[in-house]
Subunit: 210 residues, 2 copies
Amino acid sequence: MNYSVVVVDDHFLLSQAIGGLVQEFKNFDVLYLCKNGQELLDKFENPKNIPDLVLMDIKMPILNGIETTEKLKKDFPDVKVLALSIEEDEYTILKMLRAGAKGYLMKDTKKDILEKALLEVIQNGQYYTNTVSKILMESIEKNIDTEIKDKELEFIKLACTDMSYKEIAETMFCSYKTVEGYRDSLYKKLGIKNRIGLMLFAIHHNIFTP
Amino acid sequence: MNYSVVVVDDHFLLSQAIGGLVQEFKNFDVLYLCKNGQELLDKFENPKNIPDLVLMDIKMPILNGIETTEKLKKDFPDVKVLALSIEEDEYTILKMLRAGAKGYLMKDTKKDILEKALLEVIQNGQYYTNTVSKILMESIEKNIDTEIKDKELEFIKLACTDMSYKEIAETMFCSYKTVEGYRDSLYKKLGIKNRIGLMLFAIHHNIFTP
DNA sequence: TTTTTAAAGGGGGAAATCCCCCTTTTTTTA
DNA sequence: TAAAAAAAGGGGGATTTCCCCCTTTAAAAA
């Protein structure tokens, strides 16, 4: 009996293509494809649709990979989640792992690595590449996970667009003064003095990719 | 006789997966896969390796999609290039089309659209989605004269550091008001509204590399 | 050589950003 | 459950940035 896999990705071409690859592997079958986390949870209402493993993208509309993985961890702890994303910043990767992902595949993954990762997650419960391990180590050294809060991260990404703080506040559904609070606290703890400095920080830490 | 296709993408998993999809289409065969533009040009030294169509990613190491497409246009004008990228800004899409790409596929492409695009490029010489057409129209309407003076270029580079304009003026040995002049003139002709916008422009145009 | 154009600099006001110090509410932790 | 910490929001002033409209001087074109 083969292991069942579900691919969740809003990127049609990718989910179809990756599904095709997985179907070729001899120990795996693709159960179905989903466009976002909500679609996956809806599917799970029928126990027949619960797979052994979910290949999960992170950036998705409606319900993203992190939230979805958290829900799965709570309600379906036996389903393994393997994050599979084009390119994300280290903070996002960290969040995904903390949410319960058993591994994280990067954009430079080869076909046989994907197969190896799938097998290892099924058999050993996890698969971490060197890159991911390095990020984990760095996060412990720098203890960045306590340094930058969720909302602050969201703010940083918006601060890397040409929006004014007023516009950012509207986008984040909070007051202008709250946004100023995020900014001031970041400037203080990162030792920067203006928005350009914040943007440079974001770029150097892969929070924002131009 | 089927049409031959080459996929150029530094993202292994993707190039393999997309290659797999294309191989399924009845009129197309995948000749080989490349990790970047240089690898493709090296391959082309043997005439047997010259395909009918290249599916080209834009952001790649060593030799990117734009530079590669320009070289192909010059040396191998019969090879059709179809840009296939996850998500890029308008300016990049425009550069790719100007470099000679016959079309541009976005991230929300479905399998059958890919097939349709491949066929159209082979048969009609081009395939433009609505999104791409819209960008093309806008670029004609705007037709910004992107002529950037020497001093302005120097200013842009300094504006990408966390210096204030006063500090930039000191660095450039000119008055604060002159620096403001450079800024105002750039904002006007580039259609941007603040320093973050200028920095984004600088990055997209390789004036500043973070 | 005159005319036009561009570069450098300036005035001044409006808006945005930066910086501290403060309160209230919610959440965590001991 | 009480104490501590974090999140959200605010006041207010200093500074910087943004945006027009203006003058002088140097360079280029007619």
